[in-house]
Symmetry: C2
């Protein structure tokens, strides 16, 4: 009995973990759909199939929940990108190509475009979230890309003259593609496959030695 308590969590502990996840998932859906301010915790509770008060047993405030939602959804992507990069074998050109392909995949899956808009539009109004987002996501991605470029320069694949400090120039079109698809698809549909191809080709051309 004692041992089991440690090995397999009790029914209560399982329940608690499940509740927590249910709330985060419901929050993800609602925040993505409505934006931070317009999201009602009542709706989050309904979607999670619980009472509103329960949310406050797991999170201090609406803002804390929001942070958890972002954390939970972005960390796995970041970690995968990092471990993928660490294990990659091939030329810098191949690596950069595959990194950006994976980035496009990540940016357009599930409700990721909504999350991008959320963070760019509202999240950054909360200094804590901007800080967190930069520290945990952006700078990690920047470092990955800078690493690839550095290797490319050393191997003579890429020119030296591009200031790798400005990785935003390389990444921005991918971010914008997510926002576009979300908001301007009706006015002017975007073929993401072709767009990503054109973008990656453009990057390689701009970096080639």
């Amino acid at each position: 009995m004692e041992a089991q308590k440690v090995l397999t969590p009790s029914k209560r502990e399982q329940q608690k973990e499940a509740r927590r996840n249910a709330i985060i998932n419901a929050g993800y859906q609602e925040f993505a759909l409505q934006g931070f301010t317009a999201t009602k915790l009542d709706d989050v509770a309904v979607r999670a199939g619980i009472g509103k008060g329960t949310i406050y047993l797991y999170f201090d405030s609406k803002e804390t929940l929001f942070q958890e939602v972002i954390r939970k959804n972005l960390f796995p992507i970041r970690d995968e990108a990092q471990s993928y990069a660490a294990e990659f074998k091939g030329t810098a050109t191949e690596h950069l190509t595959s990194h950006f392909r994976r980035m496009y995949q990540a940016l357009h899956q599930d409700r990721m475009p909504e999350l991008v808009q959320l963070v760019m539009g509202e999240g950054l109004r909360f200094p804590e979230i901007a800080d967190f987002f930069f520290r945990e996501i952006i700078s990690s991605n920047q470092e990955l890309i800078q690493g690839i470029i550095k290797k490319g320069v050393e191997d003579g694949e890429f020119r030296e003259s591009f200031n790798a400090e400005f990785t935003q120039i390389l990444i921005a079109p991918a971010m914008v593609s997510a926002l576009w698809r979300l908001q301007l698809e009706k006015q002017s549909p975007l073929d993401i496959e072709a767009y990503a191809d054109a973008h990656i080709e453009f990057i390689l051309r701009g970096l080639k030695a």
Copy 2:
């Protein structure tokens, strides 16, 4: 007396025009600072030095005011860009360079970064504003750039193989620079001059024949 009535607006008519502008300017400041949802019309009224009710003598609703604010601030920029382009003499390379320089200037003046964030983050949640924004601003800018590229291809300056449909790839880094400056300057300051130089050089390299 009769003649004067027509030539110079009466005191009342002058007042009305001034009020309208005061409200739009106050709205611009508040919306840029707080975002659409968080902006209180009470604050707009205080900033404009009028009573809250007066706003409703000039605008139907908060949303209408928001649209006017965007209109008033973006139309002049678009019109200037168009007439500048129409009169430009020089190579496509020169034209593209100067177009993007002017774009950076416009994007970083006054409260323009805030307006960019506003439109990207919240404005696009209102279909009407997304529609308006695409119709009046984005597509105009896209057409200008596509025109320059077309000329460049015809003159043998630019390669044919870049799909000029995807102007987003060219523009995105400039948009992102505005957002970055606004939100991530503290975490990682951005030298806009150098960034713009690197961006423009990157574009030309990517387009060169």
